[in-house]
């Protein structure tokens, strides 16, 4: 079942469909669920391959431990739960039972960030990028659209070792054509521009594209780079772009502390330091609210990205203006 780019699905449905595709190609793939399959859409796999679907109940520690055991007997497990429960409830199991022995487990983190919205702070996952990135051996990705998610999942299956990828409960605008592929550590230049680079990951890349339009109207050419692969990250492309533009903005559907923005900041410090503005949840709990209201509240909409881009340009032009709020 290929995704239908003309009538975009919610990303979680694209996730479910891709699970079915992969299940056909990999007879040793098994899906595990902790009582959330019709929400996460692991249910697609359950319906297609009931014999390879394992329900563990509401027990996330066990979910990941069992997955380790299945990987050790030759299966490729997809333990599925909400991202908060992967990143927080079962972190020790993911770290030691899975990452440490580098087991072949693919972990989808469902219900990430703002679009989880009304469920509130305990469920609107903002810390998974920071947390998963900190684990040695773990690879981390956040898809920009459904085609990207599908490509990530296909690549994940061909990658030996643990992978964490985010699945959003949201319908994303189409960014990529049908032939789209994904490779670890490779970013995608989506739009060229000379004045500032907008680095997006996950659903925020679409908002970066919209921000670039806003900036273009003001005569500011912004470059947009999509970095679905957060770990490893495309340091070469980052360096190449900021060497031209001289300043950057990151945008992620997550906390700006330690996550994607930090990954770019680390890379910039390593390869080419420039002023950086980070868009995302500003170290607050992501409480309940409507999706758009939350994007607005946390200043994650295209106009906010555009404003951050202007601030970055300003900082580049007048180093004295770089004194941020802290100085």
């Amino acid at each position: 079942m290929p995704e239908n780019d003309n009538n975009p699905l919610e990303m979680r449905d694209a996730f479910g469909q891709t699970l079915v595709e992969l299940g056909a190609a990999y007879p040793n793939m098994v899906m595990l669920d902790a009582d959330l399959n019709t929400s996460s859409k692991a249910v697609y796999f359950k319906k297609a391959y009931p014999d390879r679907f394992i329900q563990v109940g509401i027990a996330e520690q066990n979910l990941f431990g069992i997955s380790a055991g299945l990987a050790l007997t030759g299966f490729i497990p997809f333990p599925s739960t909400f991202a908060v429960f992967a990143a927080r409830r079962a972190l020790d199991q993911i770290a030691i039972s899975i990452c440490y022995p580098n087991l072949n487990v693919k972990i989808p983190g469902s219900y990430v960030g703002v679009p989880t919205s009304r469920a509130g702070a305990s469920h609107n996952c903002i810390e998974d990028i920071a947390v998963m990135r900190a684990l040695p051996n773990m690879k981390v990705a956040d898809a920009g659209d459904n085609a990207d998610l599908r490509a990530i999942m296909h690549t994940a299956m061909k990658t030996e070792g643990p992978v964490y990828f985010r699945v959003t409960r949201y319908t994303l605008p189409v960014l990529f054509g049908p032939g789209h592929t994904f490779a670890w550590g490779k970013g995608e230049l989506l739009r060229e521009g000379a004045d500032v680079t907008l680095f997006g990951t996950g659903l925020m890349t679409g908002k970066c594209m919209a921000a670039a339009e806003i900036l273009a109207k003001d005569g500011i050419p912004a470059e947009v780079i999509h970095l679905a692969s957060i770990k490893p990250i495309d340091r070469a492309l980052i360096a190449q772009s900021v060497r031209k533009t001289g300043c950057a903005v990151t945008a992620e559907n997550a906390t700006i502390v330690g996550g994607f923005g930090a990954a770019v900041a680390e890379a910039l410090g390593d390869v080419y330091p420039v002023p950086l503005r980070r868009i995302g949840v500003q170290d607050q709990w992501l409480n309940s609210g409507g999706v758009d209201a939350l994007f607005e509240l946390h200043k994650m909409q295209p106009p906010h990205i555009a404003a951050a881009a202007r601030a970055a340009i300003q900082a580049k032009l007048s180093p004295e203006a770089m004194k941020g709020p802290g100085s």
Binding site: D33, D35, L36, N37, T38, S39, Q55, V56, G57, I58, A59, Q61, N62, V84, F85, R88, R89, P115, S117, R118, A119, G120, A121, S122, H123, N287, S288, G289, G290, V291, D292, A293, L294, L297
Partner: protein, 302 residues
């Protein structure tokens, strides 16, 4: 300790109002868990309107009883009970899931009367153990700590860590109540992850067990009385309340599809009318049926 006819009637009315308000807020907030709110309506009614020593005018009264809703997705029923009890105006429930409103899962920093924050299942009993220990340290012999758990929630290991420690510390000022409604998020408990023999598990973890019909108001009154005044003998007490998930409207009963789902306003209207008929009240539908609602319909599905 049989309640009077009058008391039972009053508590029944409170359970009815808890159900009504749950539907109202879930529909208006466009998100929430009807099944698990309905199944504990009688439990909350008896706790908040008869058994618990609490004062809405002094929500931080030191010697008060405390309730931790471990199955925090059942928040609508609790928010309803707190509103009906007078912790805040009834109107406030219509801010459910709104920015700066009442949080989808429990956030104690936003809602008077809430004793803890939650969302992830399996955590609340530990918090309740901490409170019960804290009360012991303060030599408060009267106050009780209540903790409501889901049956599916009891899959979580954290529950059993807490259970083990409560027995170890002889916390008979701690009363857990399991809303044993036989259904979890995506199916029946026995199908997804069986928990039987359930009472035996609690006993083996050192608890005293009382089993009741969790919709039978006199039985609940009696069980709480017993748990507070008769049973304490150095063991924590669990009330296993056999309930029906979604109890109140037929389409939701024992049906996991109404575990998490906001009804369309028209469906809510039908639900509430059915509810009033069941209770023998004058038929009354959804109060905001015709309100022009600009909110996104995002969470209507599961």
């Amino acid at each position: 300790m049989q309640p009077t006819q009058e008391l039972s009637g009053y508590l029944e009315e409170m359970a009815y109002q808890i159900r009504r308000l749950s539907v109202e807020m879930i529909t208006y907030g466009k998100w929430g868990h009807i099944g698990g709110s309905f199944s504990m309506a009688e439990l909350l009614a008896v706790l908040y309107f008869h058994h618990m020593r609490i004062d809405p005018d002094a929500p931080k009264w030191e010697a008060r009883d405390r309730l931790v809703l471990s199955k925090a997705h059942g928040s609508p029923a609790l928010y309803a009970a707190l509103a009906l009890k007078g912790f805040y105006p009834i109107e406030a429930v219509y801010t459910y899931c709104e920015l700066d409103g009442i949080e989808g899962h429990t956030d104690m920093t936003r809602t008077p009367g809430l004793e803890s924050s939650g969302g992830p299942l399996g955590m609340g009993l530990s918090v309740a153990v901490g409170m019960a220990l804290g009360l012991r340290f303060k030599e408060n012999a009267v106050a009780r700590v209540f903790c409501i758990l889901g049956d599916g929630e009891c899959n979580e290991g954290n529950v059993w860590e807490a259970a083990m420690s409560a027995a170890h510390y002889h916390l008979d000022n701690l009363i857990a109540i399991v809303d044993y409604n036989k259904v979890m998020a995506k199916g029946f408990v026995w199908d997804l992850m069986g928990i039987e023999p359930f009472a035996a598990k609690w006993r083996a973890f050192g608890w005293d067990v009382i089993e009741i019909d969790g919709h039978d108001i006199p039985a609940i009154v009696q069980a709480l009385h017993e748990a507070r005044w008769v049973r304490p003998a150095g063991r924590p007490i669990v009330i296993i309340a056999h309930t029906v998930k979604g109890r109140g409207v037929e389409m939701a009963e024992f049906n996991y599809k109404w575990h998490t789902q906001a009804p369309e306003p028209a469906v809510a209207d039908r639900m509430l009318r059915e509810l009033s008929r069941r209770y023998g009240r004058a038929e009354e539908g959804y109060s905001r049926l015709h309100e022009d609602d600009a909110k996104e319909a995002f969470y209507a599905g599961e």
